[in-house]
């Protein structure tokens, strides 16, 4: 009896592991920056390059930092979600126009609407590297102490927002 059961058990264990493996997305690389201070930067604002924005300016507030670009196709999908969020006035969203031409970024916001409190431009992608960005869009939830609490890799959907991001934001704001 044992000689039949043992191979079967081994097969089932393997099958379970392989099945779990099917559901994993290797493109979602967990960020080591979670629960670490958001890397500092000072970038020129997209609309007024003579002025700068830095994450330190946001101390005491919970906020979202969204990396986007006018050349990014997936950002078009995400855009209406942020537009709706901006109207609700729950949490301020700041944008980083990643590896983009200033005019293109400005035109993109002019044509599609601007959900961001402010956008800065990271023309050579240096700040992106500092944040571990490897593809736009990516969105970070940053708490009142300036610590990264969550990273959304890829498009923020209504579902992500409802199930993950907004509950987390509410929890962090209550602190």
């Amino acid at each position: 009896m044992m000689r039949y059961i043992l191979p079967f058990v081994i097969f089932m264990v393997l099958a379970v592991f392989l099945y779990i493996g099917l559901g994993l997305d290797p493109h979602e690389v967990p960020s080591p920056l979670i629960n670490k201070p958001a890397p500092a930067f000072a970038l020129p604002q997209l609309h007024d390059p003579s002025r700068q924005f830095s994450p330190q300016d946001m101390k005491g507030q919970v906020w979202l930092l969204n990396f986007w670009a006018s050349w990014c196709v997936a950002c078009k999908t995400e855009h209406p979600v942020f537009m709706a969020l901006a109207r609700q006035n729950i949490v301020p969203v700041y944008g980083v126009d990643y590896k983009d031409k200033r005019e293109h970024g400005q035109a993109w916001l002019r044509d599609g609407g601007d959900p961001y409190v402010m956008s800065v431009s990271d023309m050579d992608g240096r700040i992106g590297i500092d944040y571990g960005v490897y593809g736009v869009p990516e969105t970070y939830v940053i708490d009142k102490e300036g610590v990264i609490r969550y990273k959304q890799i890829g498009v923020v959907t209504q579902q992500n927002l409802r199930e993950k991001i907004l509950p987390l934001v509410a929890e962090l704001q209550a602190k």
Partner: protein
């Protein structure tokens, strides 16, 4: 005057090309060191390619970053630590031995040991089952008759 302009115009591509190629040729020693380092790092966009061989834009940016950090005098270890602090252990093509990679590193050896143990166990069990059997005199005669047929038919 017109000819001179024409000549300058012809030279235009030469100048623009020089601008693009500068990056690589600037310091061959540094470039070699950068490539050596990048060969052990993973490109996050095309995940099974190394940072040295990937043509993705992010890989280009990261190579530039590595190059710059080397110019600043950072050691290979410091640069790798910087990238790991941004992108995680996933950027290392050679995963470090940590508590959660123990299975990865030592799992195969554990399997091998388990297999050997199983084999030894099975062989011992079989050894006990096989009893030394003695042939009876009658069987011995039959066997001898089969091995040496009287008419030599089998040869």
């Amino acid at each position: 005057m017109k000819n001179l302009l024409l000549l300058l115009f012809c030279l235009l591509p030469v100048f623009s090309y020089a601008g693009e190629a500068k990056d690589l040729a600037e310091d061959p020693v540094l470039e070699k060191r950068m490539i050596g380092l990048a060969e052990n790092l993973r490109c996050l966009v095309c995940q099974n390619e190394s940072l040295a061989s990937s043509r993705s834009e992010l890989a280009e940016d990261l190579r530039r970053e590595v190059r710059e950090q080397m110019t600043k005098g950072m050691t290979d270890r410091e640069i790798i630590d910087y990238l790991v602090s941004r992108y995680g252990d996933f950027v290392l093509l050679d995963p470090p031995v940590k508590s959660y990679t123990l299975l990865l590193w030592y799992g195969p050896f554990a399997l091998l040991l388990a297999g050997l143990a199983g084999l030894v166990f099975q062989l011992r069990k079989r050894n006990n089952k096989v009893s030394e059997a003695r042939l009876s005199a009658e069987d011995e005669q039959r066997a001898a008759a089969m091995l040496n047929p009287p008419n030599g038919h089998g040869e």
